[in-house]
Symmetry: C2
Subunit: 215 residues, 2 copies
C-alpha cells in the first residue's frame, strides 16, 4: 500500500470509529469520501483493492468494516509514545487529549531542564533525560516525538535510537535521516517542519498550480 | 515543479541562507544533499532541471545560488500570516521565533475567548475573532494557521476564506477541503494532522517497507 492510500485508509478508519461512537450502523462510500476529502470513486477503488465489498445499495456495515480496516492497519492495544523536549510544542502535545481517540497514549515527557521537570502541571509525568533509557526499555517504547530545539535535535535522535526506539516524529527544524541502528535496521522517521510547510504554502499561493478540487 | 522537488528546493534554500550567515562562500552538491536529506545526485539533477550549473570542481557560489533559488521560490518581502485559535498549539507557534529565519512573520493571533485575549503574554497581539475581517483586509493577509478545536474548524475555515485569505495551514484534526471562494478560485489548504502522523508512524513500525536510506 502506498503512502497516500495509507493516509486515506487511516482517515476512513477514523471516520468509521466516530460513526460507530454515535451509534450509526451503515455507511456509504460517499460518507467516507467526505470524511477523507476524496471522491466516492476513490473510496470504492481503495476498497476493491483491499477486497472489501459492500451490499448493493445497502452500504457497508460500520462495525464489520471498521474491524476489517483495523486489522489491515494493525490496530489492537493502544500504542505508547514519549515526548522528548518539553517546551511549548512538546507541552501542547502532552496536554492534547485527542490522541486517545486514535489509540495513542503519551506515556511521559523528557526534558534536561530541572525546572521543567519539577514544575510539571500536566497529568503526564515529565522525567529527566537521564531516565530515558530505563523508561523506554521498561515500557517497551517503540516511538518518540522529538520537540527539542534545533541545536539538540541530532544528539537527541541518536540517543533515542540507542534506546531501541523504532519510529520518530520530529518537530525540530532539522531534517533527521533514518540511520541504521545497532541491529542494522532503519528507523521510521517523519519530519514535520512547520516553517517549511508555511514556506510551501506561500509558494503555492504565489504560483497557483492547475486547479483541482482535491489536494 | 512537483511537490517533492519544491520541498527539496526549499531545503536547499534554507541551508544556503544558513551557510551565508556563517560567512561561507562556496557550497558543493553533497553539502546541500546532507542538509536536505537526499543524495548529491538528486541535488545535481534538480539543479540541471532548473538550469543551474556550478563551476567544475569549484562548487557553487553561495550568494549567487541563493539569489537564483530565491527568485525561483518567489522570495522577497517577508510574508505575513495570522494564527486563528490561541490554545496551546496556537500559542506555541506564536512564541516560536524560528519562522523569521524563513521570512515569515506571525502578525497577530485571534481567539473568541475574552480571557485569552486579555491575558496575552506574547509579543504578538491577540485579538477577538470579531476583528479578523478588518485586520486581514488592512494588512493584506494571504495566509492563516488554524489551531482551533475540532468542532470549530469548519466554521473558522469558512470565515477565513470570506476574508480573502488564499492559503490555510490547518492543525485541527478535521480534514479541510479546498472550496471555491467568492472569486471562484480554490484556496491552498495544507492539513497537518498530528494524530494521523502518529498512526502512520506506528503502522510503518509494524509493517516495515522495503528498506531504503531516504524517505
Amino acid at each position: 500500500m502506498n503512502n497516500e492510500m495509507l493516509i486515506r485508509i487511516t482517515r476512513y478508519y477514523r471516520a468509521l470509529n466516530k460513526l460507530r461512537t454515535i451509534g450509526l450502523e451503515k455507511v456509504f462510500a460517499h460518507n467516507l469520501a467526505d470524511a477523507a476529502g476524496v471522491s466516492a470513486a476513490i473510496v470504492r477503488k481503495d476498497f476493491s483493492q483491499l477486497n472489501i465489498y459492500g451490499q448493493k445499495r445497502g452500504g457497508y456495515d460500520i462495525v464489520e468494516l471498521s474491524d476489517v480496516i483495523g486489522k489491515i492497519l494493525g490496530k489492537g492495544e493502544p500504542e505508547n509514545v514519549i515526548v522528548v523536549g518539553c517546551g511549548r510544542i512538546g507541552m501542547a502535545l502532552m496536554h492534547y487529549s485527542g490522541f486517545e481517540n486514535d489509540g495513542i497514549n503519551i506515556l511521559a515527557g523528557f526534558d534536561n531542564n530541572p525546572g521543567v521537570v519539577s514544575s510539571n502541571s500536566s497529568l503526564i509525568p515529565i522525567l529527566p533525560i537521564s531516565k530515558l533509557d530505563e523508561f523506554a526499555l521498561q515500557n517497551k517504547i517503540s516511538a518518540a516525538i522529538i520537540t527539542v530545539p534545533e541545536a539538540a535535535a541530532q544528539d537527541t535522535y541518536s540517543h533515542i535510537l540507542e534506546c531501541n526506539i523504532k519510529g520518530v516524529l520530529n518537530f525540530s527544524p532539522v531534517t533527521l535521516k533514518p540511520m541504521p541502528t545497532a541491529d542494522g535496521k532503519l528507523p521510521v522517521v517523519h519530519n514535520i517542519n512547520i516553517g517549511l510547510e508555511l514556506e510551501q504554502l506561500f509558494y503555492e499561493i504565489k504560483f497557483p498550480k492547475e486547479q483541482s478540487p482535491n489536494s
